[in-house]
């Protein structure tokens, strides 16, 4: 699948100013492809994830008006979690200014890490 990918990188996110804990978070999407291609992509992901050490924790429509197909999974070994959703474009409930762009979004999150006191993960 060769589409465009959003330009972003993993972000450290802290658990609050009183805490040394943080996690890594990366939310990106692949877009610029028609929905039938994205549909195939979702099916492929659903099959490939378990083969790569991921345990699928849910697969089905989201509990939203648009019912976007969502895969949630957790990696058996390093305990990263992922939320993958296929957004088909603008749904009837969206704001008039919302984008109409179909995409597959991938939200990857790490478990919590502990920072040594005084250092800054950014």
């Amino acid at each position: 699948m060769h589409g465009k990918v959003t330009d972003s990188g993993p972000l450290p996110v802290s658990y609050g100013s009183q805490s040394n804990k943080y996690y890594m978070r990366h939310d990106w999407a692949i877009y610029g492809l028609p929905n039938d291609v994205l549909e195939t992509g979702m099916k492929n992901l659903h099959e490939a994830l378990p083969q790569n050490g991921w345990k699928i924790t849910s697969y089905g429509p989201a509990h939203s008006e648009a019912r976007q197909l969502t895969i949630k999974a957790e990696h058996a070994q390093d305990h990263y979690t992922v939320l993958i959703e296929w957004i088909k474009g603008k749904s009837p409930g969206d704001a008039p200014t919302a984008t109409d762009q179909p995409e597959i979004g991938v939200l990857l999150t790490s478990p919590a890490y502990e920072e040594p006191a005084g250092s800054d993960p950014t």
Binding site: G9, Y23, D27, T81, I87, D94, A95, T97, G105, T122
Partner: protein, 598 residues
Amino acid sequence: MVTRQQLADLDLTKVSAAADGWGDLMARMDAARSKSTNGIAKPLDMDQKGEAANAMHDRLSQLSQNYQYVYQESGYLRTVLAALVDELRPVQKQLHDAIEEAQRDGFTVEADGSVSYPAGPAPVPLLPQPAGSAKPGEPVTPVQVPYARGQSPLELQNSQHDTAEAIANRIAKAVSQATEIDERYAKMLAKVKSQQDWRITDKTWAAVAAEGKDTQDLVGNDLHLDRLPDNSDPKKNAAWWKHLTKEQQEEYLALYPDRIGAIDGLPATVRDEANRVVLRESRASLEAQLDELKQKEPAKYPEGRPEAPTPEYQDWENKVQSLEDRIKGTDVVQNALDSVGGNGLPEKYLLGFDTRGNGHAIVANGNPDTAQNTAVYVPGTGAKLSGLGSDLNRMDALWQSAHRLASDQQTSTITYLGYDAPQDLGAATLRKYADQGAPALSSFMGGLAAAHDGDTAAHTTMIGHSYGSTLVGVAASHGHIATNDIVVAGSPGVEVGNAKDLHVGANHVWSEAASDDPVPEMGKYLSQLPGNAWAVDRFHGIPYNVGYNPQVPSDEAFGANRMHVDTSGHSAYWDSDSESLLNQARVVTGKYGEVTLD
């Protein structure tokens, strides 16, 4: 000491041109600083790692600071030179007029400044009128003669003498005024010393601030600057700024950065420019206060009784801690601005900054004036400048998700710490912090709307966490606050009992509350914060109460959209694996259809 010849010959257009030259330099320094921060440092940061990269980053950061320093100093010089021209011009004119009049009357202005007049014509009777010379300040002896008034030879001679003397007086006055002006301005220009090396320190910024005050006193009115607007109407403020000339805008920025940075309705780039200067100057000022205070440490314990510290010591210690805390706060903000975003994060704009109280800051990811989607996040209890790092961090994460959901649109996520948040749970039950903070928040939102680019659609969402939601609620219920959607997370109450009373439409109000977040319950039963409504209270669908009772946004009866939350506790709405944050991003980008609901 200015000489008459110097003043007469002075070409003021050259001085004006010099002032303009400094103005040009200001513009170029502005562009250079922006380029070194965003155009060079940022892309480098993304590719390089390690010690060498850190060293490079430090150098670029120093370079950016140098550009900013030259920008400020150029502004100062430009203002001073322009004021000099303004003061000298009328004085020079006085001199020129006096000299011209002397020439017309046939007088001669001597080298020493005295004005000599030739022998007058012989009136009737035929007495020769001697030539004479008048020095300024000479007494004139009146003489009685039997001639018509003004016609006696002596009177004629005296009247020439008087005229000559008057002219000499005017010349002397002009020269003396010019000398005073010259001395005054020489002192101001001397303050701009060149650095030994190019390390700009806190002392440097303190000096810049002091110069700024000098020029304010001097030229505020002389340059015919319109008065600053009273900041009560963001639309008027926006119009006021647009109607200024570029020179006037630059002068305001140089003279009043703290005021310009706080005027709602001004472009984000302008506020950012101004507040970055305020940030540097504030840190320098706080450091100076701390140094001074540290030299005045009182005795900790009273004589011979080391049980408890003296009140003087405790007071001193509180002051020291407050300063240290605010200095830490300025560092938090400075680091955020300097951390040029690897990770695809956009430029940051400092829309507000001051060190009053616990300190305030408003920081935007991406320019809200050109963004289609803007989020304004208001943190809650315990929020203060020194702890703002985690709040800024959350808005980075929100930006990334909103950008992912709408990559073909521009997004801006703003952290708003423009109010004094209650610092402990006891204080957080009181409404006064929200009441006091609401007008400024309303004005800020109005300012975003007024400054927004007219050709781009604008969709705005406010996100209030905990007490921040109360502040948003008070502002929204009292007037029509400029927002399309309101999200509240862990809300203890928003002053009204029903979502529709927030005036954005009940279906544009979104609530997040973790099932084990105690704050909504505490707010509902133990605080002043919620509003009341006639409602049936239900617990998991089972009605247990009916009446005119406090309703918080997580109550079904309140009528808000209740978004799915997969985190636990009061502060985790932005935490790991958080669909809570993703739901916020969905509202921010108008993707309401994709919001997962409870």
